[in-house]
C-alpha cells in the first residue's frame, strides 16, 4: 500500500482547496490553502515538499480530469458547432476550473512546463474549432487562435457571473452557449 486511506483523502482535499484558492487569487499562500483544506500547514508540506511541487501536481491532476472528460465526449463526428455547444453545455464548469488553475500556475512555473500540458489538454478544443472553420459552420474571416481565445474568455465570464451570484447555473450556460454560437457563426 502506498498511502493510508486518510492520507489519500487529505491529498485530495489539498488539491481541491488549492484549485479553489488559486483560482480566485494566484498568490494565495500555503497557509491559506492548508486552512481551506481543513489541515495544518505542516501536514500540507508532508504531502507536497514545496509550493512548486504542489503547483505541478495540481496541473497534473487537472490534466487527468480533462483527459477523462474529453475521452467520453465525441468531438470528431457530426457538425462542429453542435459538438462545441454540447461540450460547453455539459462541461463548461470543468473547463473553467482548468482554465483558472492554468492561468494561476502560468506565472509561477517555467513556461515550458505549462505549454506542453496546454496543448495536450485544451488542444482538443482548438482542433474542434479549426474543424468547424474548415467545414464552414464557423466564421473564417478571423484567425482560429482568436476564436479559441473568445471561447475561453466567455467561459470564464460565465463562471464569474455565477460566482458573483448574478446568474444561476442554468442562466449562465444559456447565455454562454447563445453568445458563443453568435460570435463564431459563419
Amino acid at each position: 500500500m502506498a498511502l493510508r486511506a486518510d492520507a489519500a483523502r487529505n491529498v485530495e482535499a489539498i488539491l481541491e482547496a488549492a484549485a479553489a484558492c488559486l483560482g480566485r487569487n494566484p498568490d494565495a499562500s500555503m497557509t491559506e490553502i492548508a486552512k481551506r483544506a481543513g489541515l495544518g500547514r505542516v501536514t500540507l508540506y508532508g504531502h507536497f515538499p514545496s509550493r512548486e511541487a504542489l503547483l505541478h501536481e495540481l496541473m497534473r491532476d487537472s490534466l487527468a480530469r480533462i483527459s477523462r472528460l474529453l475521452a467520453t465526449a465525441d468531438l470528431d463526428s457530426g457538425p462542429a458547432d453542435a459538438a462545441l455547444l454540447g461540450l460547453l453545455r455539459s462541461s463548461w464548469q470543468v473547463l473553467d476550473h482548468h482554465v483558472g488553475t492554468l492561468s494561476a500556475v502560468r506565472r509561477q512555473l517555467p513556461d515550458s512546463d505549462v505549454l506542453a500540458h496546454h496543448e495536450q489538454i485544451l488542444g482538443a478544443i482548438d482542433r474542434l474549432i479549426a474543424r468547424g472553420r474548415r467545414d464552414g459552420v464557423f466564421r473564417a474571416d478571423l484567425p482560429v487562435e482568436w476564436l479559441v481565445t473568445v471561447v475561453y474568455r466567455l467561459i470564464q465570464a460565465a463562471a464569474e457571473q455565477v460566482e458573483e451570484g448574478v446568474f444561476t447555473e442554468e442562466q449562465a450556460v444559456g447565455a454562454l452557449t447563445a453568445t458563443v454560437a453568435a460570435a463564431l457563426r459563419a
Copy 2:
C-alpha cells in the same frame, strides 16, 4: 504653487508606471513600481504615503482620463451599434487600460470604494448597450449585464493578443469589432 515642476512630472511617471506594472501583475511591489518610474522607493513614498493611497489615486486618475474621453465621444445620438463600434475603434486601448487597473485595484481596496467609481466611469457603456437593446439593434434575449461583461472581456482579450505579439493593433481592433458586432447583434 502646490507642486514643483519636477515633482509633478514624477507623480505622473509614478501613476503611469503603477498602471503598467499592476496591469500585468496586481501584486507588483512598490519597489518595482518605483524602479519602472525611474525613481527611488523613498521618493515614491514622498508622494503617496501608502500603497493604498497610490491605488486610490490611480483609480481617480483613470476616472479623469475616461471622463475626458467620453466627453468628446457622442454616445447618445445615432444608432447604438454604430456608436459602440466607433467607440471601440477609437478607444479600445484606453478602455482596456482602465479595465486592467480597475481589476487590479479591486482585490486590494474595499469594494465600496471601487463600485462608486465603476458606475461613474464605465456606466456610459452600460447605458449605451441598454439603449441599443431597447432600440432593437442589440439582442434582447440576454441580460444587459451579460452583454456588458462580454464587451469588457473581449476588449481585454484583444489587448492581450497585442501584448503577446499575436496580433498587430490593426488586426486586434478588426477582430474585436467584428466579434462584438456578431455577439451583440439582435
